[in-house]
């Protein structure tokens, strides 16, 4: 996983709530068997409309997505996170994320930041008034900063430590393999098996 420390970039205001994973990356893109190449599928249906905010010239190269509440609802497809990252987003700000999407994002180093809706509105107004305005997401300080905005955000210590160091969960878990083996010996014998081994 890519480590995340502090990122500053221009923003894309996405004034929509309940942006589900089918909108972030439609199902037909899910046939790909890689983790890259999803950038053109990002918000595919909406991008056919020239007026869609991502298509605006001044939003090219923006790296912080500021979205409405309940971002990432729906399916567990990690492709949604890969599509955002492949497109160039480093962080997504919303007042509420769907659980699975949030988990997936933090496992891939895409920082999902929860801020109160009032702050999200302020950031929308700021970037709409000045598309060149920068937003800084500072993970060590757990703070989002922009002109006239300093907002603290929460992230549990463990997730923050993993992100800051770009640590891979599997290696961390395997450090405790002895615990897994011990647990395995104590499982009920009536638990089902898919195959005899």
């Amino acid at each position: 996983m890519e480590a995340f420390t502090t990122h500053s970039g221009r923003a894309v205001p996405l004034r929509r709530s309940n942006v589900d994973t089918d909108q972030i990356i439609p199902a037909h893109w899910l046939k790909k068997v890689t983790r890259h190449g999803f950038e053109d599928g990002l918000f595919e249906a909406w991008r056919r409309d020239d007026d869609f905010v991502l298509n605006h010239r001044e939003r090219q190269g923006a790296t912080v997505l500021v979205a409405g509440p309940d971002f990432g609802t729906g399916s567990s497809r990690e492709h949604a996170v890969w599509a955002l990252q492949n497109y160039g987003f480093k962080a997504v700000i919303s007042s509420r994320f769907a659980d699975i999407f949030r988990g997936n994002s933090l496992k891939n180093g895409l920082l999902t930041v929860v801020l109160p809706q009032e702050t999200v509105e302020l950031l929308w107004e700021l970037t709409e008034a000045d598309p060149g305005a920068g937003i800084t997401v500072d993970l060590p300080a757990r703070e989002v900063r922009a002109e006239g905005v300093v907002a603290a955000f929460e992230l549990d210590e463990h997730a923050r430590w993993r992100l800051l160091n770009g640590l891979d969960d599997i290696s961390l878990t395997l450090q405790n393999e002895a615990d897994i083996t011990a647990y395995e010996t104590s499982r009920h014998s009536f638990k089902p098996r898919t195959i005899e081994v």
Partner: protein
Amino acid sequence: MGRTLAEKVWDDHVVRRAEGEPDLLFIDLHLLHEVTSPQAFDGLRENGRRVRRLDLTIATEDHNTPTLDIDKPIADPVSRAQLETLRKNCAEFGVRLHPLGDVEQGVVHVVGPQLGLTQPGATVVCGDSHTSTHGAFGALAFGIGTSQVEHVLATQTLPMTRPRTMAITVEGELPDGVTAKDLILAIIARIGTGGGQGYVLEYRGSAIEKLSMEARMTICNMSIEAGARAGMIAPDQTTFDYLEGRDHAPEGEEWDAAVAYWRTLRSDDDAVFDAEVFIDAAALSPFVTWGTNPGQGAPLSASVPDPASYEDASERHAAERALEYMGLTAGQPLRDIRVDTVFVGSCTNGRIEDLRAAADVLGGRKVAGGVRMLVVPGSVRVALQAVEEGLDKVFKQAGAEWRHAGCSMCLGMNPDQLAPGERSASTSNRNFEGRQGKGGRTHLVSPQVAAATAVLGRLASPADLTDASATPAPAGV
């Protein structure tokens, strides 16, 4: 203090607990399918890892599989490549696979329970959000992303933070013609698509206890549409009766030991939930969605709501967008909405009871002119059972298409899709924009409402069919 069902199952699976870290949970059953596993197997290969517990892992093909001509090569080369990737990965790593054409193939959440692999008190995961289905057995079942699929393959565990618990108590008697699907749609409309966020929902109360296992699966299946981490129902005699004698159910003394353990899996009387919701079953009626998320629903007898009636600005805006996308106007009675397509199937309503319910309504009737009805069994076993009962004939005689098992039009990864602007009544679980095909419009309904809608060509309940004034909508309008 007592513990909730979810807490009991959680505690029984903690491999490691340490201050400031998520709990490391052991996973009893890992279900795989073609869409969310390729990148996970790649990860194993890159790091020289193997699958830790092949005996707790099983794969099937469902999302991409065609429902016609399954004996011919799959026409879409990209879908074909994805299925071939799963076959190659399963062969290389030694994972049990039920591919297209196999008698145990089907939607992953239909296959697990019918094999008897989904059992009370188990932890079940799958790279698919509707894994919540398995909670109907009193299992703790989570949908996970591909990174987590890789994690479970490599370690048979997952680091997870303990969720909060919410009790959804449904008391009373569901009125005639009101099904589990209507109940869960009404619950989601009530608590909202984010209402369950961070929670494991436990459905309980007299109305839940009376439900069959299949109906319980319909309820738990859609927990994710309320944003919940999982949904659960305490196991009881209905659960044990469903499991007994299934392929992977314990036998003899093992069965007795299992049942004794399963009986302990209920929330203690003094357990405290972090949130509670109460629903009066008797007040419910057939429920359908009008919008583009599963929380945008209303009783069939109601009208399309006026966005101006929403106080919350973002809800109002979402309703405006939804009406525009759905091509509906505020105040239009829901019963006047005409459809082009009816889909019966998916992991929500693709089991045998669902097909029986739809066939029951369709028997001796015809699908309205200009309406296409697709019936897609959730698994090959469900299809075989339906054929044995003659349900396939009922569907065909009514003018519906009887298809091969798979996810099909639930998400339109295969050729079963809506064309732009087409409208469906669908027994699946998501009415998102474009979910069933680019520009397609979806109304979520129960199997009974789907069948009645097929007959009348407009959203309808079976009761409408006996109403003398009911006539099919004129074709082409």
